[in-house]
Amino acid sequence: MLLKVVSFLLRHPWTSIVFIAVSLGLAGYAARTIEVRFQYRDFYDYPGNPSVPLLDRYYAEFGDPAGYVVLLVEAPDVFRPDVVRHISDLTRELERSPEFVDVLSLANARAIRAEGDDVASGPVMARIPRTKEESDQLRRTALGSALIVRHVVSPDGTAAAVLAKMRAPPATRTVERQAAGVEAARRVVAAHPAPDGVRVRVTGAPLVEVETTRALVRSQITLTPVVLLVMVATLVLTFRSLQGVLLPLAAVAVAVLWTAGIYSLFHRPLDIIGSVFPTILLVYGVVDPIFVYTRYLRKVDLGRTPEAAILEALSELALPCFLTSLTTALGFAAFASAHLPTIRTFGAIVAIGVALSFVTTVTVLPLLLKVVPLPNRTRSSTRIGAWVDRALVGLWAGIRSRRGWVCGGAIAVIGAGAVAARGVDIVSVYVSVLPRGPAQDTVHTLERELSGVVRLVVFLEGPAGSMKRPDVLQAIDAVSKLARNQPIVNSSVSLADLVSEANQAFAGGDPAERRVPDSSSLVAQYLALADPADRADLVSDDYARSHIRTLLTDRGSKALLGLRDVLQAEIDRRFPPLGVTARITGSVVDFEESDRLVAEVLWGFVAAFSIVVALEWVVFRSARVAVLSVIPNLVPIAACFITMRLAGFHLRVDNSLVLCVSVGGLFNTTIHIVARILQEIRAGATDPDGIVERSLRAVGPPSLYTAVVLSLGFAVMGLSPFPGLQALGLLSMVTFLTGFVSDATVTSTLMRSMFDWDRAITAARSSVPSSLAAGVGSAPGAR
């Protein structure tokens, strides 16, 4: 059937090429709409996520913290009059910008406090301080308020923040809108030169998302050409001809463009995970064309016409290529059942891309072989090929008599990998997902100088008026204080702070009176005095909803979830008797989903691994072969975990993709070696040592080239600005190279030692047909 289709295409090459060109045009046109975007929300916002409605309700009530552009002012003393004036100027200028709706800084932050016998309310700074005494007064006021310190000024007075809330609501806050906000802030900074010794930096969540999106775009622009360069170099070394480089690349390029067109139909942005798919397709997609082109050249060398060479090469390779593509596609398709759209889309699109790569290998490549003249020098054998051949012969000679050692070594590596894997946790860290540079620096600075960007929120709901009840406020205060005492917490504020500070102010500043009073009337009177804008940050208008806002240093999901458990225990103890519901939300949703995503990748890997083993069982009609193939393919996984342990990596959203990536590439060489051994037996060979050696020599070189292409292709990610993708590059390289070595040694050793040779040879002699052997072809040494 396939050969009939190929024959038809070869009879109508130009019509077919025009058809392909039109499809490429359509795909390219559709691909224009793909948006490259990094937004943390994309990782957890999907229909059916039970945490999202609560988070959305919380954001609707108290605002989305991701909407603030922050000007970070660093100075030896931010309370110095000239620095305060500068902060005031920046604040006023930002207030005039249509990009922002509210601007908060030392210049307009409000607090209630005692001033002698008076109670001072309103802005902490009535005017720019003129004297040291006035500066010191401002310092005392600002640092004395839990609602201001670590919010707009650092505890040591060396940093202050100007928080500019973006006017665009979260639903319409695109990366372009965020970039406009960041640029507006930068213009303000540029227009107001800072006083001597003062540094002003634009930071905040919009900057993080803008910079990360830009880094993603830069990655695509720089990494894709480098991957292509690696492939070109490998193809030049393999084929030494222009055609040998261009034709496989053209086939894979068509597949990538078709896939990009289909990706646009998913209406998903290209995020940090999706951004890996072009690299994966380029690298995987070139493998089958290398095999087909090699076989084609050999057929031509044997004197076949180009058309006959194409058909013969495909008749021999279509099934193994289909099988390896199928196992790769199924490996990725296993992720299509994941909960998270980002990983589901990734699994689906790579599976589709791999399938399309197979399609272009058997359609586009033959067409190009038909219309492009043959190279002058068709032989693909090179000095490298001869060297690889000698190395494989030497390898087999070395291990054939030490098969026990090889098996023992494999088991030892797997054991070491298992031990290493126990020390590799799933730990999502917000900061380290971000690219190195401004995005990471921003978060580190905000954590160091102010409160940071990771927040854990206790969202409280009760009947109208419940949040101003003294017993509820006292419970809120207790939980908030417990949070404050945790080592990773930088700040924790709540409505109880506002009431406590008012109580202290009306008690003449007595520190002992910084508490929630027992009188409900007094609490209500304090709250009536507070400005609604300040109150709205802490409680709803009807006093039915409130929150405890805890900001912390990003030490990863393990630490965050540990803090959640501590607070949850306190919440369970205090709030149920009060008739108030307290639930934890905030960054915990992102982190939980990121951890879950990694867990899904792990389970997806296990599922894909199992599917491939089951397929081997079906295709080779041998449970023993299927089981034997498990060991050599566990070795590279073990090596991957050992590398992770040695490098101090934990499993995260980005580097866990190594499991997705490797599942498609691991079994290919195993399948080819087993298929080749069966083919040898079908051809009448009976000497197991000779069969294994010949199979190794036939499959080894293209498998080595494949391993090199895969390793180097993914190693290019080492150039990415994203630390997680750098780790992914390293881990992929280790996995693929170890995979090749493992197949060359462990697969051949296990097949020699544990394969049921007598039964297979007897079956071959009695001419029991083998579907695979028939598909692979019957000429020994053909590959």
Binding site: R96, S97, P98, P123, F506, S519, D541
Partner: protein
């Protein structure tokens, strides 16, 4: 005969109490602003007012604030006022005394019955909301109008009342708004509608006079609505009882009076 006709029309218009300037010769924006400042829609010149404010939040929840306010003009245009709250129950008995100052911050005192004593409230409260309503202290003291540039941008009726449309840009540094646009009734210079724009030039609040009343020869805005567009919050203020009395005793505006609910 033509001059006779014109004279008759002039006599009729004057007798009907028409606006002080003809349509052909409207007053300047500064004149209009001065007349607005001369008007006393909240009774600060001398009155005892019983009022009720209904606050509606973005979720539609309502809460009410009831108060009695006494005011007296003591050094034109400065006045002093004392406000006593009667609802909600939590606030009942709380009092607020404000004495406007020509320079610097106004004097403000708060009496919380639970503490049984009043406290002076220091600090610049101008941009703060008045007791949780959508009216800020600045909206009520109207200082931003006194020190401002005004521009007459046209005529536009509000609820069939002919109005001047005046764009006012405050000059004060601590002004709450970048500018306001006011619809000023031509006949009595009451502001029937105001749009307030934030520092970014985006609409922040709208004020609408829903009902005006003439009591003892003075015009009052007896029912009004302030809508905070950006926070979806509304305050409807109803002056339920207005007693005009210019000579309220000064003793009514002291801390002692404040502490005796």
């Amino acid at each position: 005969m033509r001059w006779l006709g014109a004279a008759l029309v002039a006599i009729l218009v004057t007798a009907a109490g028409s606006p002080p300037a003809s349509a052909d010769n409207p007053p300047s924006a500064t004149d209009i602003l001065n007349r607005v400042l001369d008007s006393d829609p909240w009774g600060l010149n001398g009155a005892t007012i019983t009022a009720r404010a209904t606050l509606t939040d973005k979720g539609g929840s309502k809460s009410e604030l009831s108060l009695v306010a006494k005011s007296k003009r003591y050094d034109p245009p400065l006045s002093k006022s004392i406000v006593r709250f009667s609802a909600p129950p939590d606030l009942a008995g709380a009092g607020f005394l404000q004495i406007q100052k020509r320079d610097g911050d106004d004097d403000r005192y708060l009496f919380l019955p639970e503490l049984k004593r009043s406290r002076r409230i220091a600090g610049s409260l101008r941009s703060n909301a008045f007791m949780g309503t959508d009216f800020s202290f600045a909206d009520l003291d109207r200082r931003d109008l006194r020190d401002a540039d005004a521009r007459l941008t046209g005529d536009e009726p509000v609820a069939s009342w002919p109005c001047y449309v005046v764009d006012v840009t405050p000059r004060r540094e601590d002004a709450q708004y970048s500018h306001t646009v006011m619809w000023v009734r031509k006949d009595n210079f009451l502001t029937l509608k105001t749009k307030m724009f934030d520092k970014g030039g985006v609409l922040e609040k709208t004020f609408e006079a829903l009902e005006v009343k003439r009591v003892a020869g003075h015009w009052f805005i007896s029912k009004s609505r302030m809508h905070d567009v950006q926070h979806a919050h509304t305050t409807e203020l109803v002056l339920e009882d207005i007693v005009v009395k210019a000579d309220i005793d000064d003793d009514e505006f002291t801390m002692r009076a404040l502490e005796k609910p």
